[in-house]
Subunit: 127 residues, 2 copies
DNA sequence: GGAATATGTAGATGTAGGTCGACATGACAA
DNA sequence: TTGTCATGTCGACCTACATCTACATATTCC
């Protein structure tokens, strides 16, 4: 096969279905759906989106810092978190909303002041 | 204080240092550094950047799917992951590099084919 | 009810990162 | 050595998201 024909190809390798046939020794119509089913089994469970949400919530240095500090304190006020992170109060508010929405912290008003506490089960696991 | 002066202010509330004084009952020069120290203690530990890296690696639906499937299989070939995720081989390669760099998977070549395995300790924890 | 103050939200801005196509590299067979 | 094929890298493009300012809302005190 000439180089010219390669240029016409979407890629230099074989199609995915052909590669899977070679790998598994099965027809594509048989083996390919198995991967789709495995993916659907994993991603379709109720745990998957929940754990993904928690992982995304924790995957920011400021939010991870806030949660790690809350592991060391019974509770923290919004402005205490602001002091530790050097962000504006608006950005702290945004981040704490993300953590609360992910079920990692709870917010409690005491007059004008808002205090955050860690939710009991903050361990993250792979579904 | 007139409304006009408020408009001149960066915000309608008090400065952070003042708010922390009110919250803690301590001088700002005394209480504010404590939050900086708490943050430094937490974020300065060697575990923090490592866990953050792992959390970021897992905070993508396709990478989380790949890792979750690997929990159910001894190993998976790159094109098997490609089949499950419906991405191009280039994007799969990119994602598996991110997981490998985060210490969550290892790659093993068998001829032309690349197989990925989960690293033994994939539990993520908050530092 | 108005003033003061703590925090929440909206919209703008800039950047990090996911995705792809094209090309490059590694491994194997002939 | 060349051809084939599996996968890695690069650069472009686009979107998600972090951050801020300005404004809005909630709460308390007088």
């Amino acid at each position: 096969m000439s180089t010219w024909v390669y240029m016409m190809s979407a890629s230099r390798g074989l199609a995915l279905a052909t590669r899977l046939e070679r790998l598994t020794g099965e027809e594509a119509t048989c083996c390919v759906p198995k991967y789709h089913e495995l993916a659907a089994e994993v991603a379709g469970s109720p745990r998957f989106p929940k754990e993904l949400k928690r992982l995304r919530a924790l995957a920011d240095p400021n939010r991870l810092l806030a949660v790690a500090m809350l592991r060391r304190r019974d509770q923290l006020c919004a402005c205490e978190i602001q002091a530790a992170t050097h962000l504006t109060h608006a950005t702290v508010s945004h981040h704490m909303s993300v953590l609360e929405d992910a079920g990692l912290v709870t917010a409690h008003r005491q007059g004008k002041w808002i205090f955050y506490r860690l939710v009991a089960n903050t361990e993250v696991s792979i579904p």
